[in-house]
């Protein structure tokens, strides 16, 4: 296990290095420069600005400089936010995105898995159709429509919860629900299919033959076996939720990462694009790692070992 983890960390670092390099060079393919959209600058002013940020150097030199800085934990400074360090920008904005994403994920998976189990146990009854309906709605209604609906009904009409802003737990409830509808529908659909599959297997018949009740069969025998494929889809989904849903953050006026990422691409804020990409990639790689560890916990047939065994 220890050897496996070390090996994985090496490969994770390698992946991250490749992602950073690729993004760095791909970004150069976007026409224009960080200063081309700003107020009109004369050629000499532009040259001064480029020299100041090192953009006049040949690309390989820029790349080497950037990599050197990244290794020291320096992600550069933002062009659009008056030279604020990127690490500071991200640190200030990751909090809301992270807690909102995690809340949505935890609520969404638990609720979705339960919904899927109920649908599988009561196959072809109104409970099953109801859960399918919820899942189809969750996948087909855009989250901003759903978010606006929640704001209007629960926030405005009923007045139970605040409509927007990020000032405490009750402010996070509506955006959490809005964001979790997608993981709910994914988890519910996968769990239903897997549960129906597992419930038809021989060992479930044997469990019945042992006298196990419906509840014991579902939760002691079937659930763990059905979870394995569900974990696969939920891993990457977690990352996309944690790193912030642009739309939901916008609608609820939450100062998160998603919004920042998109605006920095629009204005070619190189270092913010790079910084956010590094963060997203790290989170993704780490989640995949966690999912693999989860597999081995859920399924004893999967043993984690170093490459030589």
């Amino acid at each position: 296990m220890g050897k496996y983890v070390l090996q994985r960390i090496f490969y994770m670092a390698l992946t991250l290095f490749i992602v950073i390099s690729l993004t760095f060079f791909l970004m150069q393919l976007i026409p224009g420069s960080p200063f081309s959209t700003a107020a009109k600058l004369s050629d000499s002013q532009l040259a001064i600005m480029n020299a100041k940020y090192g953009l006049d150097q040949p690309l390989p030199v820029q790349y080497a400089m950037y990599m050197g800085n990244v290794l020291q934990g320096d992600l550069g400074v933002s062009f659009q936010f008056s030279n604020t360090p990127v690490t500071e920008l991200i640190a200030g904005r990751i909090g809301p995105s992270l807690s909102l994403g995690l809340q949505a994920m935890i609520f969404g998976t638990i609720f979705g898995i339960l919904l899927g189990i109920i649908a599988a146990l009561r196959q072809n009854t109104w409970l099953d159709y109801g859960s399918t309906f919820v899942a189809v709605l969750g996948k087909s209604i855009p989250s901003f429509v759903f978010a606006a609906m929640l704001q209007y009904i629960i926030g405005v009409q009923l007045g139970w919860l605040p409509v927007a802003f990020w000032r405490g737990f009750e402010y996070s409830i509506l955006p959490t629900i809005a964001l979790s509808i997608f993981p709910i529908s994914i988890a519910a659909r996968f769990m239903r299919t897997e549960m129906i599959d597992v419930l038809g297997s021989d060992y479930i018949t044997l469990a019945k033959a042992k006298g196990a009740s419906g509840y014991e069969i579902a939760f002691k025998h079937a659930m763990r076996n059905a979870l394995i494929p569900v974990v696969t889809v939920l891993g990457p989904l977690t990352v996309s939720l944690i790193t912030g849903s642009l739309v939901v953050e916008r609608v609820f006026a939450i100062p998160g990462l998603g919004e920042q990422f998109v605006t920095s691409i629009n204005v070619l804020d190189y270092s913010v694009i790079m910084g956010t990409t590094i963060l997203f990639a790290s989170l993704f790689i780490f989640t995949v790692f966690v999912v693999d560890i989860l597999y081995s916990i859920i399924d004893p047939r999967i043993r984690l070992s170093g490459g030589n065994n």
Binding site: D202, K210, G211, H221, N225, R301
Partner: protein, 350 residues
């Protein structure tokens, strides 16, 4: 000997898109205390459906045990019992061993826990007691190092070992009836012999009655006291092992016996029963076997034969046993066997 289980006039249908499949059409048999009854027959003859219905393990959504069917156990008709009441019987009084040990254990649960489950559920054992009993059971079914093995998962065992574990699970609560649904079919021949020996040995130790489903007559000869031959959802012949092997009366049983390879004969070709099993969506009129039976008579096409009595333990459903039926010569393999049968061959009376 008294009967521990009686099945009377069992009728089971499956509702499919094509229509109603009459899988079991009036099955009667009894299981005596301490005996092993083998149920033999080809695929689709209704062996597994019959035994699954005893455990009430048939899918609720499309199967139906018809009104009037009786599965009498311990003074109760299992066919009419509630699901909750059935849960108390399954695994405690009646338990079951399945065909494929590779898939019948939960892959994500330690085997110790799988064995302990029925003990905790039915006998109110504490976890420690259940573990102790699980260790004894593993010892009983001949699995070495039970202390280590109990904490392992099914994938860490071979097929034969897994079937031993399944047997341990089935025997955990000392059931009165053990249903073994082709327990050796998925195992290779040497392991088959070991598992059969184990089952015979355990039957003596815990005094349970066994219903043994198989399509392997060699297995039947080595384990069974009595044999019921099923065809097309009915029992067509029932008798002691000797009666079925050495004095069979039904042409279908003749076919089964003739198609058994033997080391005594020098035949190059193995006998095959021609044709295919009847369509139970539209069961044939008369004897279901008539279409494949070269001894079939006119009456077989129109009238179903009743069970004719051959001896107190031996019955067969064929018109050939009717007093008015013509004398015929059974296949050579059957004639050869009859010479070894101690009793006289007599025509039956109804």
């Amino acid at each position: 000997m008294n009967n521990i289980l009686e099945v009377k006039d069992l009728n089971i249908s499956f509702h499919t898109y094509a229509g109603e499949v009459q899988a079991i059409r009036g099955v009667n048999f009894e299981l005596k205390k301490g005996e092993t009854l083998a149920i033999v027959g080809e695929s689709g003859s209704g062996k597994s459906v019959t035994t699954k219905s005893i455990m009430r393990l048939l899918p609720k959504s499309n199967s139906e045990i018809k009104q009037g069917s009786q599965i009498l156990f311990d003074g109760k008709n299992l066919a009419e019992l509630s699901d909750k009441a059935m849960e108390k019987i399954r695994g405690k009084d009646i338990s079951m061993i399945f065909q494929d040990p590779m898939t019948s254990l939960n892959p994500t649960m330690k085997i110790g826990k799988q064995i302990a489950e029925p003990l905790i559920k039915h006998q109110n054992f504490s976890k420690a007691q259940a573990k102790q009993r699980a260790l004894e059971l593993l010892e009983l079914v001949g699995l070495p190092n039970p202390e280590i093995r109990i904490n392992q998962y099914p994938h860490q065992f071979s097929g034969g070992q897994r079937q031993r574990i399944v047997i341990a699970v089935a025997l955990a609560c000392n059931p009165k009836v053990l249903i073994a649904d082709e327990p050796t079919t998925a195992l290779d021949v040497t392991i088959q012999a070991q598992i059969l020996d184990l089952m015979k040995d355990l039957q003596n130790k815990i005094d349970t009655s066994i219903i043994f489903i198989t399509h392997d007559l060699g297995v039947v000869a080595s384990v069974a006291d009595r044999v019921a031959v099923m065809y097309g959802g009915k029992i067509v012949e029932v008798g002691t092992v000797d009666e079925i092997f050495y004095n069979s009366q039904h042409p279908y049983t003749w076919g089964l016996i003739s198609s058994m390879p033997s080391i005594d004969t020098e035949d190059d070709e193995l006998f095959v029963i021609p044709g295919s099993p009847p369509d139970l969506l539209n069961p044939p009129k008369g004897d279901a076997f008539a279409a494949r039976n070269r001894y079939a008579m006119a009456i077989d096409q129109s009238e179903e034969p009743p069970m004719f009595k051959v001896s107190n333990t031996h019955y067969a459903a064929t018109w050939l046993l009717h007093p008015d039926a013509p004398e015929i010569d059974p296949p050579e393999a059957v004639q050869r066997r009859r010479k070894q049968f101690p009793g006289n061959v007599t025509k039956g009376e109804k």
